[in-house]
């Protein structure tokens, strides 16, 4: 339960971090470390070098008409506390309160969680549901990756090895839209056995869009369009496109039942909010 040896670099500029990352194919970036350090301690990861980006700034939450930008070093707890972020996109605070325990949220970063690409985590699914983006930088420049193109497989993002995620962008919640998120976990703060976030948009008294994002169900966070599906059938409809996994925490059939129940609940909650 101790990490294997590694070199340690704490750069003071992003360029320095990117140079070092490009020079070592086995280097890893350390931000909050709340997922990475357990992996090191359990020796599930043994990088040759850790590049600690905590000295780089990148800790701003910035607002624009179209949404909120979150720097790579913004801690979950800081984003959760931000009243402005909760106003621009209320689903952020609601989902962040489900991320582990407050003590973990004090150190863990939202962007780090997003690029860690754990299909059991809340924030990757929220980013996918809302159609957010992640901006990454490398020595050769920067690019923006849409959430739908971010996840390649379990614990695998589409970032290249030499890229560092510098910020995530969550779009503003549009008028007439309601959102909700719920999960079932054995204890509050544990990873969910199944979690669902939903976004419902109404216009002229009619639902014009209903979508749900699933975490801890499949190998990657998965968004399903449920527009036009009666809410009683929505879970079953979603299951046709999902492949719930069995693991030591829950069987696939139990997860399927949670999908049915949670889908109905979050769609109802999001719908109520949209009509409110």
């Amino acid at each position: 339960m101790k990490p294997a040896p590694f070199e340690f670099l704490r750069p003071s500029t992003l360029d320095e971090a990117l140079e070092a990352l490009a020079a070592d194919a086995n280097a890893k970036v350390l931000a909050g470390g709340q997922s990475l350090i357990p992996l090191l301690s359990m020796r599930l990861a043994a990088p040759s070098m850790l590049i600690d980006i905590n000295g780089l700034g990148l800790d701003a939450i910035t607002f624009a008409d179209d949404g909120v930008r979150i720097g790579a070093l913004v801690r979950h707890a800081e984003l959760e506390r931000s009243d402005d972020a909760a106003r621009v996109q209320p689903l952020l605070r609601e989902a962040l309160r489900l991320v582990a325990h407050p003590t973990i949220r004090n150190r863990g970063t939202t962007v780090g969680s997003i690029v860690h690409a754990d299909a059991s985590a809340e924030m990757p699914a929220v980013l996918c549901l809302l159609g957010g983006t992640v901006t990454v930088s490398s020595r050769t420049g920067s690019r923006t990756i849409a959430a739908e193109d971010l996840y390649a497989g379990p614990m695998e993002s589409t970032l290249h090895h030499d890229e560092v995620a510098t910020e995530a962008f969550f779009p503003v919640r549009q008028p007439g839209t309601g959102t909700a998120v719920q999960e079932v976990a054995r204890r509050h703060g544990d990873y969910a056995l199944c979690g669902v976030a939903a976004s419902v948009t109404v216009a002229d008294g009619e639902v014009t869009s209903a979508r749900a994002a699933y975490f801890s169900v499949c190998e990657v966070p998965t968004v399903i369009d449920l527009t036009g599906v009666p809410s009683a059938d929505a879970g079953e409809h979603a299951l046709a496109s999902l492949e719930p996994q069995s693991d030591i925490h829950a069987t696939a059939s139990y997860r399927s039942q949670l999908v049915r129940v949670l889908t109905r609940n979050v769609l109802q909650a999001a719908c109520d909010e949209a009509f409110a």
């Binding site: 990490p3 040896p5 350090i37 357990p38 850790l50 905590n54 000295g55 973990i104 150190r107 509050h188």
Partner: protein, 151 residues
């Protein structure tokens, strides 16, 4: 690596490998063995310390990443030999038995009551939800949180 750690108001210079967890640096290099190490992957909460006043898992931080912060361990809670309110409430309410988890509870609750000085019973339970105790059944720890809030 030679690093400086600010712990309980004192500056310590230590020479550690980069892989040294903060929890191990506190215990082995600084001999501050009040911080306990349970699960070593962030679940049990026994190693919780205050980092610039905020509770964090010392097993989920590297010592070499902790140099910019003021760290408070359980040894830093009592002032001039006087137990802090939270410590005194634990003593009075029998909020501990074996004591292994206690340092993490004390640091977590110290910060929790600073942010919410008069919690409801439900809020008190929520405050300690990230810490595991195998002896007490939590009832006396919840009572200690409420007792400390009164004093």
């Amino acid at each position: 690596m030679k690093i400086r750690l600010h712990v309980n108001g004192a500056l310590h210079e230590v020479d550690v490998e980069p892989r040294r967890l903060l929890s191990d640096a506190l215990r082995h290099d600084l001999r501050l063995t009040g911080t306990h190490v349970g699960c070593e992957h962030g679940v049990c909460g026994a190693c919780t310390v205050l980092v610039d006043g905020e509770p964090m898992r010392s097993c989920l931080m590297l010592a070499v990443s902790a140099t910019d912060y003021e760290i408070t361990t359980v040894e830093g809670l009592a002032q001039d030999g006087e137990l802090s309110n939270v410590q005194a409430a634990f003593k009075e309410c029998h909020g501990l038995q074996c004591g292994f988890c206690t340092p993490g509870f004390l640091t977590t609750i110290t910060a929790g009551l600073r942010d919410n000085p008069s919690p409801t019973r439900e809020e008190a339970r929520d405050m300690i939800a990230g810490n595991l105790c195998r002896c007490t059944g939590y009832q006396n720890i919840v009572a200690a949180v409420l007792k400390a809030a009164e004093s």
